[in-house]
Amino acid sequence: MNNGTTKSPAVSAKRVADAVPWNKHVHQRRNASDWVADILIWALIILIVLVVLYPLWFVVIASISDQHLVSNGSVTVWPKGLTFAGYVRVFQDSRIWTGYRNTIIYSVLGTILNLVVTLPAAFALARVEWKPRRVILFLFTFTMYFAGGLVPNYLLYKQLGLLDNWLVFILPGAVSVWNLIIARSFFETSIPEDLHDAAQIDGLNYFGYFMKIVIPLSSAIIAVIGLYYFVGHWNDYFTGLIYIRESGLQPLQNVLRDILLANQTNQLGTGSGGQNALQNQQIADQIKYGVIMVSTLPLLVIYPFLQKYFDKGVMIGAVKG
């Protein structure tokens, strides 16, 4: 597999930013159309940021506002009628905690297995002197575009005893070819070949070179594909839907689906006698906002810390698609 004409965007963003003509330290005369363009660009950017941010912000404020005020539209920018009733009910719900526990177990173990399997394979496939790599890589990449499909998968898992078995969350997705290609491209382009020569002279074999030199130099790519894998596990709804019947094994997303979309908020206390339908609906909504926050917050909190690695990871993956 080769990809025609894309070149590695090796120039750092910083350098370009410094040299781009309209940056302020380069004094150049600006004409009227530049000002118009400026205003247009800023207006669009602000609009985009608002469109992306507002729904998320609304969930935050709605989760701690009086639902009566939310549903009649008076909650717009700041929370009103501050209440934490929704969160209290969410934290009382055992289903959510079971789901949470399961998801954490599946995500952590799954991501560890992902990295342990993917990184060495990516390293091996990045060694130019290893001739079989082309065939192996082709066989791997082919699976990205051609797959057996849902039913053969299902029957295979059934034969392997993976139905209603927690291993189904971990084993079948152990290798994502996409992540493997990203890691391979990183090893190929970002680890200088001189290091390998030096390691050989020092008597390191492939295992030693990989463990002692390559891995310590690859924290960026490990963070990126680790995060991809982790988010994949965390947000996985499909596996629980298709291969798991037992509710004790269901991960968070499947519990969320029951609460958020099938409206099964009952365990959370709606429908307890004497309340009218409107109130029930409002309590259910409050719970829904709380559930969205509780399930989504962990990922939104960790990701800005890893953001500096993203550009690199995505870029590498793209260059060597």
């Binding site: 965007p9 090796a10 549903s71 066989l139 493997l180 492939y206 997303q253």
Partner: protein
Amino acid sequence: MAVVDINGVVDNNQVRRSWPLFKRIIWHFKHYWQLWCMAIPAMVFIAVFAYIPMYGVQLAFREFVPALGLTGGKWVGFKYFKQFFSSPMFGSTMINTFKISLGTLVFGFIAPIILALLINQLGSQKVKGFVQTITYMPHFISTVVIVAMLNIFLTPQTGIIGRFFGSQSTLDEPNAIAPVYWLSEVWQHCGWNAIIYLAALSSVDVSLYEAARMDGAGRLQLIRYVDIPTIMPTCVILLIMNMGSVLNVGFEKVWLMQNAMNMPGSEVISTYTFKIGIQSFQFSYGTAIGLFNTVINFVFLIVANEISRRVSDTSIF
């Protein structure tokens, strides 16, 4: 191997080439057994979880016999494909699938390019970083939560969007499912998909800007004549790759968006495969529908790749 000199190595390779096959194999494994050890776990996983199901697609051409598993049963040829083509669901699932996926392909392709071009125009790195951080964020939200948010926001009368759209929820409207799907996809993934174009834009040769400025180009002309040509190869590659999944409408999202009211507009091939193949145990029929889907995708990928290679000399294989 104590040879450090480049010429020495080349000579050794040539010597080895004249060895008998089995001696060469022994040499290969003696030298590379460690690389094999590192690659084999991944190879085993791919073989079991990708190639065995691929081998199992022959079920589409056979009767399913539970005792015989994936490959048992009598050969029936194209019976199940004919059954699908002549079923009343064929037309509507195909139309729905194409509608949802083509819109996603078009909007999901254009929007990140525009966003990247816009972000690239921002002078300050801080503002750039801020806008990127904000626009990436929805990418990490799960499908379940996205669909739940759609549901809540589109609720008639009380939802922040739904209150402007009359008494019927937009999600209950079969014709509205596709646009809701496209827009929410763009909302969720636009920022993330823009990263790759931003990376490509950061490699623009600065002298090009300067030269264009000298020739009197304004900012919009710089975008038109410098930025867009720079990201063109990246755009083409991504377009080809997206073409390969033109019928791969995200199963999860459509499945979660489905309800009894919108079903005429929301039944797509993947959800239909699930209902036929898993929920109603018609394994062979379900496999056939799934295989049909895969083959169409593959054809699209190959065609897009060929066209692009002829037209722009860019291809993924």
